[in-house]
Each structure stands twice: as C-alpha cells, then as structure tokens.
C-alpha cells in the first residue's frame, strides 16, 4: 500500500493523520467545557431546570468526546520521539518544558476534576461541583495555551540560541513562550473552538426544533448557539485578519502560498478568489481576481507592493496548492458561519427564531463545519510552514528519526485501521446521543453511570443499606 515511499513521507503522513484526528476532539471539548461551565453557572444562579437538563445532556456527550481526546493525545506525546527523534533531541530543550507545563497545569487538572464534574454533584455539593466544572474548563484553556505556544514557537522561533550539538537552547523564556505569532494563534484557535462548539450545539438544537419546535431545551441551546455565532464569528474574522498580517511579517512565503501569489506585485496585489494552482508553470490558472484587494487586506493600503514566491528559493517554498485550497475552505466557512449567525439574529429580531425550519436546516448543515474549518486552518498553517519543522532553522527532512520505512508504514497502517474503527464507532455513539432530545433520561443504553456511578456515598453513611452480593 505504501510501496516506494520514503520513511520521511510516511512519517509525515502519520503525523498529519494522527494530529488531524486528535485536533477534532480538543476543538470540540475546549468549547464544550466552557459551555458546560456556563450552563452549570446559569442553573445555580437561576434554578431554571432547562439549564440543568442541558448540562446533563452535554456532559455525557463531553465524556465520550473527552475520552477520545485523551487516548488520541497520548499517541501525540510519544510520536515526537518515535518518528521525529532528531527534532526531539534538537528542539526538546526549548519545547519540552512547555509541553511538561501543559501536562502539569492542564492535563492533570482536567483529569483530576472530570470525575467530580461528571458524577460528583451529589457527593461534593453544588459549590465544589461548580468549582470542578470550572477547573475542567480552565484546564482545557491552559492546555490550548501551552500547546499553541509550542506550535507558534515552531512557526516563529524566538528567545533561543544554538549550541555546538546543534540543539536549540533557551535564552529567554518570556520570548519563547510569547513568541511573535503566539497571541494571534491562541486567540484564533480558542475562538475557533468556541465557534465549533456553537455550531455543533446549534445543529443539534436545530435538529430537535425541526422535530418539535416547542422543545424547551432545544430552544434554549439553539438560541445560545446563535448568540454565540453572531458575537464570535465577526471577532474571529477580525482575529484571522490580524493573524494573517502577523504571518506576512514573519512567514511571508506562507502568505504567498495562501494568496496564490507566484509573482511579485510591486504596484498592489490582486485578491485571487478562485483558481487552480499550477506548480509546474508557477501560476494560478483560471484565476478569478479582484485587483488591489490583497494589498488592501494585508497592508491595509491601496497599491501597496507585495512580494511573490518568485522571491523565495524553490527549496524553501511550501506546497502551494494545498495551502491555497485549505485557506479558501477555512475563510469560506468562516463567512458562512457569520451568515448563519446574521440570519438567526434577523429571525430573532422578527420573533421567528424557533419557527424558521430553513434556518434550523441550515444550522444542521453547518453543525460539523467548525471541524472542517479547524482542520483547513491547521492544514494552512502547518503545510505553509514546510519545508521546515522549526521555521527557517530546521528542515523537516533533517528532523526524522532513524526509522525504517517498513516500520513507519506498518504503524501508519495500524493507526489508520484503529482510528477509523475506534473513532468511527465513537462518532456513531456521539451522533446517536445527539439524535435524542435533551430531556432523554437514558442517553446511552442504560445511561451508564460510568465513572463514579458505581461508587455511591450511601456506602459510607449506611453500609447495611447496600444490596448484598
């Protein structure tokens, strides 16, 4: 199946495959953890049962998604070593401590309080339960912070020196953690996670409104999701613009690939809406373009000169076609999210939010689109960083572990089979849970009190009350 491929290509495929699968779960659980904290907070404050119903509904979905995120994440923490050991040896002194901080300040926090959040309300009381819920949400955000700092350092390295072993050595931790692209990437990704969750919640709300527009929890979640969209989607477009300008400053080749600018434009660059990249001829075929707009977006100035890929040595050029397309998918979906939010806002203004079936259908179609946009965005930024792992300093081809192609091919095949089987089944269970209305008492087969379920407090108060063996 993978005959004739080099170990490097296979290792890159393996990393792309495992990390793409992995990012789906955090993209959802970062937003959902915050949403659960909000729902629980609103329930405690208002004592409106609808919030509690929604909390209990989404927390079960969260449990499944989080479990998939944990196991796919463990793979990531070892893959740097198995396939990219030279990268690990060289970048470890800088990136390793950041990842260690992620484990210490985020993973343990999430895992430690998750059990209490899911099943501990009766055992610890409302206040501590709220605290645990907030800690899980905080943990997901901490995790995002550290890992985005790591990724951003690979894009825009700072605060380092290189020792005689060829290792990156930390010089200034402040500069390393807050490297130039980090704040932009962090904001962009956290907003993306919130949008992704809002779209899923909105899609599920839309589904249940189509079946029963009087369904109170469905109304509530749909309304909350649409509020979230109309507030966050514009912010995200703004954040994306800032992020793009930052990328232009630090990784111009990536922006050239995103824009499809093979040639320099000294008198202002056009915005290429669509076209087919032709890497052999180094041009965009059938380009549909608006003059000057690219300069306007990237430089905020009419007629501003923009360099093209002709200024970049061929061996330093990222693969243009992938970056060009994934960027357009992401941006297109971003505006579709804004459109959905605006439509919903208008229907809300007219008092018809809950009885516009077309809107509910549109929300369902958009339900999974946050995931697509997140993946497209990550493909843009990661493929756009090529051919380097540490931008401009360490080439991907010089980062590889001394592994043989058959070993990587075999493990890649195993990952593909296992991931599609395991996460396919998980996605099926998630969809089946979402297909049931929020009021359903038993979401799964028997509403398994999976975690703490078995360990009840009754035991301590009255051991005799326990049914015997």
């Amino acid at each position: 199946m993978f005959d004739g491929m080099t170990a490097e290509t296979l290792a890159r495929m393996q990393f792309a495959f495992t990390v793409s699968f992995h990012i789906i779960f955090p993209a959802f659980s970062i937003g959902l953890a915050s949403y659960l904290a909000v729902l629980n907070g609103l329930w405690l404050r208002t004592r409106d049962k609808t919030y509690l119903t929604l909390f209990n509904y989404w927390k079960k979905i969260f449990a499944v998604a989080f479990g998939m995120g944990v196991v796919s994440g463990i793979v990531m923490s070892y893959q740097f070593g198995t396939n990219w050991s030279v990268f690990s040896d060289k970048a470890g002194p800088v990136l390793g401590p950041l990842m260690a901080y992620e484990v210490l300040s985020a993973f343990f926090l999430e895992a430690g309080f998750l059990g209490i959040m899911l099943f501990g309300r009766e055992r610890v009381g409302d206040k501590l339960h709220m605290f645990a819920t907030a800690m899980v949400a905080f943990g997901t955000l901490m995790s995002a912070t550290w890992i985005l700092s790591v990724n951003s350092w690979m894009q825009t390295p700072a605060g380092y020196s290189i020792n005689d072993l060829g290792q990156f050595v930390p010089e200034d931790w402040w500069q390393i953690v807050f490297n130039p692209s980090f704040p932009y990437r962090l904001v962009h990704m956290v907003l993306a996670a919130y949008l992704t969750t809002a779209l899923v919640v909105g899609g599920v709300g839309g589904l249940h409104l189509l079946r029963n527009r009087e369904d109170a929890p469905a109304r509530r979640m749909f309304s909350m999701a649409m509020w979230m969209l109309i507030v966050v989607a514009p912010l995200q477009i703004l954040a994306g613009d800032f992020h793009g300008i930052n990328t232009l400053e630090h990784q111009p080749a990536k922006v050239m690939a995103m824009e499809g600018h093979y040639d320099s434009h000294p008198d202002g660059a056009p915005l290429i809406l669509f076209g087919i990249p032709n890497p052999d001829e180094k041009r965009i075929d059938y380009a549909v373009q608006i003059p000057q707009v690219s300069s306007l977006i990237l430089k905020h100035e009419w007629g501003a000169p923009l360099d093209g890929l002709d200024t970049i040595p061929d061996e330093d050029e990222p693969p243009v076609a992938i970056v060009f397309w994934s960027f357009r998918v992401m941006v297109g979906l971003g505006f579709a999210m804004l459109g959905l939010g605006a439509w919903a806002a208008w229907r809300r203004y007219r008092g018809r939010l809950y009885d516009t079936p077309m809107l509910h259908r549109a929300a369902m179609v958009m339900g999974p689109m946050g995931f697509v946009a997140v993946l497209a965005g990550w493909i843009t930024t990661e493929v756009g960083r090529q051919p380097f792992t540490v931008y401009g300093l360490l080439r991907t081809s010089d980062s590889l572990a001394p592994v043989a192609a058959p070993a990587v091919a075999a493990s890649l095949l195993a990952f593909i089979v296992v991931y599609f089987f395991v996460f396919g089944a998980g996605t099926f269970y998630l969809l089946r849970m979402m297909n049931k209305p929020a009021g359903t008492v038993h979401l799964g087969l028997k509403d398994g009190p999976i975690r703490t379920a078995g360990i009840t407090p009754i035991m301590q108060t009255d051991p005799d009350a326990i049914p015997g063996e």
Binding site: A414, F415, D447, M459
Partner: protein
C-alpha cells in the same frame, strides 16, 4: 552544586513509579475483566476504576512529556529503539480507554468493547513489560541516535519481563478489587490474588537472577559494595511484603493486600533504579549526558515544584470523593 539533572532523574522516576502503580491497578482490572461472573460484576469492576483511570494515565503522558523536556536525548533514543512496543502500547491504550465510555452506549457491541477493554489492558501491560526488559538489556547508541535494528527489543528476557508485568499488574488489580468490592467478586479475587502473588514473586525471582547477566555492569553493581548491601536487603524486604500480602489475604483484610502489592512494586522499582544508576539509558547514556541544558531544567523545575504537590493534593481529593466500596445496585440501571 548538586546536579539539576539528578533532581530531574528523581522526578521522572517518581512520575514513572506513580504511573506504574496507578495505571498498574486499573490495567490489572482490565486484565482480570473476563473473570467477572455476569454483567453485574463486570460493571462493578469497571466502575471501580472509571472515575480515576484518565488521571492515572496522565502520569504516562508526564513520563513521556517529562522525558522530552528534561532528557530529550534519552527520549530521542528510547522511542525509536522501542518503536514497535511503544506503538502497540499506544494502540492498546486507545482500545481500553474508549471502552469505558463505549460499552455503556451500545447493547449489540457491548461484547466487542468488553474484549477491547481486556485486550487493550493486557497488550498495554505486556508491551510496557517488554519495553522495560529491552531497556534493561541496553540500547545501542551512536552519534546521539539509536543505532540498533528495529527488532532488537525482542528477546527471551524482554518477553519474560512482559509476562512479569502482566502478572504483576493483575495482582495490583485483584487486590484493588478486593479493597473496593464485597461478596462473590471480592472472594473470587482473594482466590486469584494467591496465585497472582505467587506468580509475581516467581517472575521477580527469575528476572532478578537473569538481570546481572544482561550486562556485566549490573553484576558488578549488585555484587560489590555498596550495591551488595541492597542484594541482601532487597530479598528481605520483598519477603516482608510477600508476608503482608498473603497474611492479609488469609485474614480477609480489605486494604492490606493492595498496600502490600504496591510495596512489592516500589521495591522492584528501587531495584531497577540501582541497576540503572548513573545511566538513564543502559548501557552507555548517562543521566548527565542526556539532560537538557540547565536553563531548561531550571525553568521546568520551578513549575514542577509548585504544581506536582497541587496535583497530588487534588488527585488524592478525587480518590477520597470516590472512596469506599462500590454499590453494585448503583452501577447500572
């Protein structure tokens, strides 16, 4: 000045030991899963570890992430050397991890996820044992990279350590269930713990006798002062732990067998530490050589000193919240 790298070696060792004990008992529960009689006992077994397993596995991430952070060279050498066992362990952990949630979400496929829970647990344990054995055998390093073949990890010795870890984890799992349950399940596990305990001690004996012959250095360390002191002390301490285990089982004690099983693991871990020191990757890579620059070690240490005690505190709190025996009636309704 005391070497920062040794402090870090201690911290990593602590993380790995914590992982082995914590995930050891929940993997052990998975290994014993097929011995449950009926759905009710299966639910009890799974529920006894369900609230805590992902916290337990986070110590594995800390082991990997910590090694990457402070001993990047060791990480870069060990991972390719143990490529296959590590990948298989990760895949196995995926299966057993998702089984916790999945088995409650389907009726038709429940048996599939039960097998995934058992199979994933036993394969993960076996691969960890193989990785340990391969590490003790030694890893060939040249020019800051792994220099061996990709089957080097497989040997009679590593397969033996693989079985040893499976049996040892099963002992931890059995004694954990004894602590957390009552009735038939507890009685069954008390019976199983007898032969699992005997098996664990047997494997420890064989592995201990074989280890000094894996590398002359080990022989030297164990049969010359100061190592030979441990050669005398260790068997004595192990016998005391074994005595606590078996008397606890005989007296039907709830907690004593589990604590005794843990102490057996701690003693073995100390023994491995004595064999390794001052290397981090036998036979040639030392702790000092593999360490990241002091700036990295210091930066990571600041947070670790603050965060690890906090982690231990809230982890203990989570265990305390879910303390006590499992109520079988509550487990599935």
């Amino acid at each position: 000045m005391f070497e920062l790298s040794f402090i870090w070696a201690g911290i990593i060792a602590f993380a790995v030991l914590t992982y082995v004990i914590l995930d050891g008992f929940d993997l052990g529960v998975g290994i014993l899963f097929p011995l449950a009689e009926g759905e009710r006992e299966k639910a009890m077994m799974m529920n006894s570890v369900a609230p805590i397993w992902d916290g337990n596995e986070t110590w594995l991430v800390l082991g990997g992430g910590g090694l990457f952070a402070v001993f990047p060279l060791a990480y870069a050498v060990i991972m390719p050397a143990l490529y296959m066992p590590i990948i298989l362990m990760l895949l196995a952990l995926i299966f057993r991890g998702v089984a916790f949630e999945y088995r409650w979400r389907t009726e038709r496929w429940k048996p599939v996820w039960d097998i995934a829970f058992f199979g994933g647990s036993i394969v993960a344990a076996f691969m960890q044992g193989i990785a340990l054995g391969a590490l003790v055998q030694g890893i060939e390093v040249a020019d800051r990279a792994y220099a061996g073949g990709w089957w080097d990890w497989l040997s009679l010795f590593s397969v033996l350590t693989g079985f040893a870890v499976v049996v040892g984890y099963a002992l931890l799992g059995a004694t954990w269930i004894i602590m957390k349950t009552e009735g038939n399940l507890q009685r069954q596990m008390q019976n199983h713990a007898w032969w699992l305990g005997a098996g664990t001690l047997g494997f420890i004996g064989i592995v201990s006798i074989m280890t000094p012959f894996q590398d002359p250095v080990y022989f030297h360390r164990w049969f010359n002062l100061p190592g030979s002191i441990f050669s005398v002390l260790m068997p004595g301490a192990l016998l005391a732990a074994a005595w606590a285990l078996f008397t606890g089982l005989k007296a039907g004690k709830d907690n004593q067998p589990f604590l005794a099983a843990i102490s057996i693991f701690v003693l073995c871990f100390i023994g491995i530490g004595i064999s390794f020191y001052p290397n981090i990757v036998p036979p040639s890579l030392t702790i000092v050589e593999a360490a990241a620059p002091d700036k990295s070690l210091r930066f990571a240490l600041v947070g670790t000193v603050v965060l690890v005690p906090m982690i231990l505190a809230y982890t203990a709190y989570a265990y305390w919240v879910f303390r006590g025996k499992i109520d079988p009636a509550e487990g599935y309704h």
